[in-house]
Symmetry: C2
Subunit: 140 residues, 2 copies
DNA sequence: ATTATTGTATTAAGCGCTTGATACAAGATA
DNA sequence: TATCTTGTATCAAGCGCTTAATACAATAAT
């Protein structure tokens, strides 16, 4: 794995985001077991303490819980997981729109540029946890 | 001024972005004079050294230049300024799309959510430096 | 000529992040 | 029972960011 970190913010905070994304998109499935602190440290080539620090934050937010010796697990509450996904998406959109706005672009230009980029690369829907009553279907 | 900084990344890097945005959107007009290091330090309530560090980066990128005792000035090269704006916008869009994709959303969902948010808040176009032949007009 | 203003450089201190090393607690496993 | 595996805690070292204080260089202003 090529290091996913930049040197712009603390590694443990970047790990928090990476882990949340894995939970949000289902890579780490609801109720599943999280790799051990030591394993994750090897995978991400960081110190176990740094992983521990990131996981402590996820724990504080009730996204994971640990059982002293058997390991650490993703919450089984799908609402919580949906909540994280929605929250991250909202933050993401708000930050994006605000930054574009600060660059001087207006609504229409922002939308046009967004559409251009997103249509060109094609992102496929891959959500693992869905709204109640929402069916999984592919967009293409 | 309420502090525009978060504690997630070094202040000097956040200043680099803030300053670039001011140049990109015309708040700091092409060819204009930049406030003194000491003034900026007061305005942003940081140490002059921290401002200096941020400005040194802008200088490295040819966005500003300093004249030993009369002050510091924005480049007069409009292409350079447009380049920064375009570059920042590209980074912004790419980061946005990638993050949304990592959350599991596909192209259509991303576009829909983006449109919803951007239409709801209305960002007005406010660019100071335009493409050659591009006329300024307001969207509303 | 003198003073003020500007950018720039240096130093020391404090603080947070990261690492490496080590150790302990407690349930799982042999 | 003994060992392994897990999460957790602690300590010291190194490094970068930030601040404060100070000084210098060079031009503008008086």
């Amino acid at each position: 794995m090529t290091d996913p970190f930049d040197d712009k913010s603390p590694i443990y905070l970047q790990l928090v985001i990476i882990f949340k994304e894995k939970i949000a998109n289902g890579t780490w499935p609801v109720g599943g077991r999280v790799d051990t602190v030591r394993d994750l440290a090897v995978q991400f080539r960081v110190n176990p303490n740094t992983v521990q620090r990131a996981l402590a934050e996820l724990e504080r937010e009730k996204l994971v819980f640990s059982e002293r010796t058997s390991g650490r697990f993703i919450t089984s509450d799908e609402d919580t997981v949906r909540g994280v996904r929605d929250h991250l998406a909202n933050l993401c959109i708000r930050e994006y729109a605000d930054r574009m706005s600060r660059l001087g672009y207006g609504s229409d230009v922002i939308l046009k540029m967004t559409e251009e980029y997103i249509r060109e690369k094609r992102f496929s829907d891959n959500r693992g946890v869905r709204e109640k009553g929402e069916e999984k279907h592919d967009f293409d």
